[in-house]
Amino acid sequence: MSALVINKLNCFYQENKILKELDLELENNQIVCLLGESGCGKTTLLRAVAGLQTEFTGDISINGRVVNSAKKNLTPEERKVGLIFQDYALFPHLNVFDNVAFSLHEFPKEEKQKRVNEVLALVRLGEYAERFPHQLSGGQQQRIAIARALAYQPDLMLLDEPFSNLDHHVRFQLIDEIRLLLKSRNMSALFVTHSKEEGFAFADKIALMQAGKIVQIDDAQNLYRFPQSKYVADFMGQSNYLPVRVLDNHCYYSELGEINSPNIIKYDKGTELTLLLRPEQLAINLDVNGKGVVEQISYLGPYQQITVSYLAKLYIIKQSTHVGACMQFNEGDKVNMDILCHDFVFFEKEKVS
């Protein structure tokens, strides 16, 4: 049984359609990240699952239980989902213990105590039970929010930009902790963020959204290496685009010269395509007769980013800064450019535009 199934979900805000015929499925114990630019509808999708969206059509099931359909619309309190927010949403008038015990008010005292202690121990904040939210750091507050949601024993966790307010160091430490925690409890989670680094670190799969639709869903590596559109390619990382023409089953022609394909080319001879080249898939060599010129070099720690103009077009190349691993370049150097061996990704002409 899937943890979450969404079928043909449409959400509206006033006159605007925010989500368009959206489908999504989450397996058990899977963490899926909804990634996209601001306004693409990822938070709306999360709120629709939580039951906080009023204008919508479509079906949603959580753990096999229909929570939204044409006939049924369960209230948020009937859905058994744990919601985690960017601003932590801890109740400021309650201390840590009462915050965590918020959903357990009908439980006997001993049972409540036991459950709260158990989840506080999970997030390693057992000794903070008497403190109030304002006496905790951002990371601690978010861990309490997780503990509060876990105490409720939800069927699904929904996390709305939960790490955005945290410092870089605390953020990635907390991402690891919470991921481990969810995995250890066999929890499924839908996680919203606009940061691909957070998505890479936290989720099993990433659903990239654009204008109310999921444009591609896959694991991080595949999304980066095999994007299905230029939008996905650009969102996932820096890209160079090289126009090519198919010469035969094994060879393309481009302004860099002839390129041999590692696989048999499925396009017809003469077809014009665009080849996606990530900066690390290009290499340059010093050559006084080279057609490229080094325009700019930016040192970025583990690697350097080199901008090369080649026949009036700019290319970005990433090169490791490891001593001995690379050639030293200076701005103005004449260079030649090569494509390193990798699985090629092409976009047809209309897809690029």
Binding site: T75, P76, F85, A89, H93
Partner: protein
């Protein structure tokens, strides 16, 4: 409904012809005087409030902390009480002229010139002295809210403190100024007792006179509609002035961290100016009231005073309770189902405070008088005996009028405290299995309880002070402290008015201090 009734009634035919008579004779004069009073009060209030607010927010000098809240105290004094105190002090037979005559050896009024307080200018000064705190409060908030970094940047670019104030702080506080000035203009437009006591004829006195003396509800409604029109223009202008306002987050150092320490003659000038303002607006009138209250204590302390105090107290308690209820319903409606209907609901409930008491009273009288007539006719038709004016002649209409006028204060107070409760808290609670009702009870109420208390107390204070609505809507033989004081004021018996007036001030002052402490703790 009352506003609709007012507008409809204003378009009906005036059979008595008194409105036409007013147009032919005094209406233009009344309108011009009203505008003159409003303009004068606005200018003078600005002169009082702007420097006070800036010095308190941005400078450091001895007694600043006391003055910070003390400068708001004049709000607890109804203007008409200040008016009688100053009339008593400055009249020909008063202590000041008496002292001057004795000291200078003058014999009669022809021997010297002394300004007459019972004039339009006198009314302007008295109203400005009691109403400036509205503007002071908002401007002080605006100055405190401005990022100190902006001011620092201006200073680092070579501006003197005064230039930095003129070119940075002042333009940024224009929005607060517009709101404050509109509030003062509305209060001035609605003031009845002060202008009436000084025999300055404004539109408000015209409404009162046409209804109680000429008995023409239609004419009163027509004048009220004119005032309503002026208010609509005022509110529109105020929103227009704020159309480009943006919420600037306070970031970095605030003025609190960067106060100028005043020294030398600057310090003494500011100190004496602010204490003089406080003395004239609050301390002096209060002392005079205390003096008379002690002197005439046994004569003033009678059964009537006790009864009217109880009347005022219970009326204010009931109105404050109901206003709080209205405010909670309206605000939670907006929070739970945000949309145009909820927005309109908030807007409409906010309109009442802007409308002068006399206009509210006439607006309420029209539908309830018709309802009474209709109800009695129905009773007769069904062979029952008449029950009389059960709506318009009972406490019901008075409470309704007060509620219409003051629920805006409660709505505003609950609105601002609820706005500080992040919607994510509601969502978190709902996702943790709590229903809407449980969320309101377990999350919202505990977080807005200070706002609820503030709303209750603010309405209580206003209801204790309110005069025009009470004068026009009170049932026969029902007096409040305010109407009791007004009766003595009309008879020029300040000695007897002092103790009940002092009671009004104290019953306003104590809750006022409580609210102030609450708000300070919030900050």
């Amino acid at each position: 409904m009352p506003i609709l009734a007012l507008v409809m009634s204003a378009f009906s035919v005036d059979e008595s012809g008194s409105f036409q008579h007013l147009i032919d004779t005094v209406l233009l004069d009344y309108t011009l005087t009203t505008l003159q009073v409003i303009a004068g009060v606005l200018v003078l209030s600005l002169c009082f409030a702007l420097p006070s607010a800036w010095f308190i927010a941005c400078c450091e000098f001895p007694s600043r902390k006391v003055l910070q809240w003390a400068l708001m105290l004049p709000l607890a004094l109804p203007p008409y009480i200040v008016a009688i105190v100053y009339t008593d002090l400055l009249d020909f037979s008063g202590p000041i002229q008496g002292f001057l005559r004795d000291f200078m050896g003058w014999q009669s009024v022809g021997d010297y010139y002394f300004p007459d307080i019972r004039t339009t200018s006198g009314a302007i000064v008295i109203l400005a002295l009691t109403l400036y705190p509205y503007l002071y409060l908002l401007l002080r908030g605006a100055f405190l809210g401005q990022s100190g970094g902006l001011f620092q940047a201006a200073r680092s670019l070579g501006l003197s403190p005064f230039q930095a104030f003129k070119r940075v702080s002042f333009p940024l506080s224009r929005s607060a100024m517009a709101v404050g000035l509109s509030l003062i203009a509305m209060e001035t437009l609605g003031d009845f007792a002060t202008v009436n006591y000084f025999a300055v004829n404004t539109l408000t006195t015209a409404v009162y006179d046409t209804w109680l003396e000429l008995g023409s509800l239609t004419t009163a409604a027509k004048i009220s509609s004119l005032m309503l029109l002026a208010l609509v223009i005022l509110i529109t202008l105020e929103s227009y002035s704020r159309r480009k306002q943006k919420i600037y987050q306070r970031s970095g150092a605030t003025h609190t961290d960067l106060r100028f320490v005043l020294s030398g003659w600057h310090k003494w000038t500011v100190l004496s100016g602010l204490w003089l303002l406080l003395s004239l607006a609050f301390l002096l009138p209060l002392c005079v009231l205390i003096y008379y209250a002690i002197g005439y204590f046994s004569e003033s302390l009678n059964e009537q005073l006790w009864q009217y105090t109880l009347n005022s107290f219970w009326l204010a308690i009931i109105v404050a309770g109901l206003a709080l209820l209205v405010a909670l319903v309206v605000n939670f409606y907006q929070r739970l189902s945000p949309g145009l209907a909820a927005k309109m609901c908030i807007r409409l409930s906010s309109l009442g405070y802007a409308v002068p008491g006399t206009v509210v009273a006439i607006g309420v009288l029209i539908p309830f008088t018709s309802l009474d007539l209709w109800f009695n006719q129905q009773l007769i038709e069904y062979s029952f005996s008449r029950v009389g004016l059960i709506f318009s002649g009972s406490l019901f209409i008075l409470i309704f009028g007060y509620l219409m006028r003051f629920s805006a204060i409660a709505v505003g107070s609950i609105d601002s405290s609820l706005a500080q409760v992040s919607p994510t808290l509601d969502m978190a609670s709902r996702s943790l299995g709590q229903s809407v009702g449980q969320t309101i009870r377990r999350v919202n109420f505990p977080l807005i309880k200070k706002g609820m208390l503030t709303a209750f107390i603010l309405v209580f204070i206003e209801a204790m002070k309110e005069l025009p609505t009470a004068l026009l809507l009170r049932p026969f033989n029902f007096e409040t402290l305010a109407t009791y004081v007004y009766q003595f004021v009309s008879d020029e018996m300040i000695e007897y008015a002092a103790l009940p007036a002092l009671l009004i001030v104290l019953m306003g002052l104590i809750p006022f201090i409580v609210v102030n402490r609450l708000l300070e703790k919030d900050c």
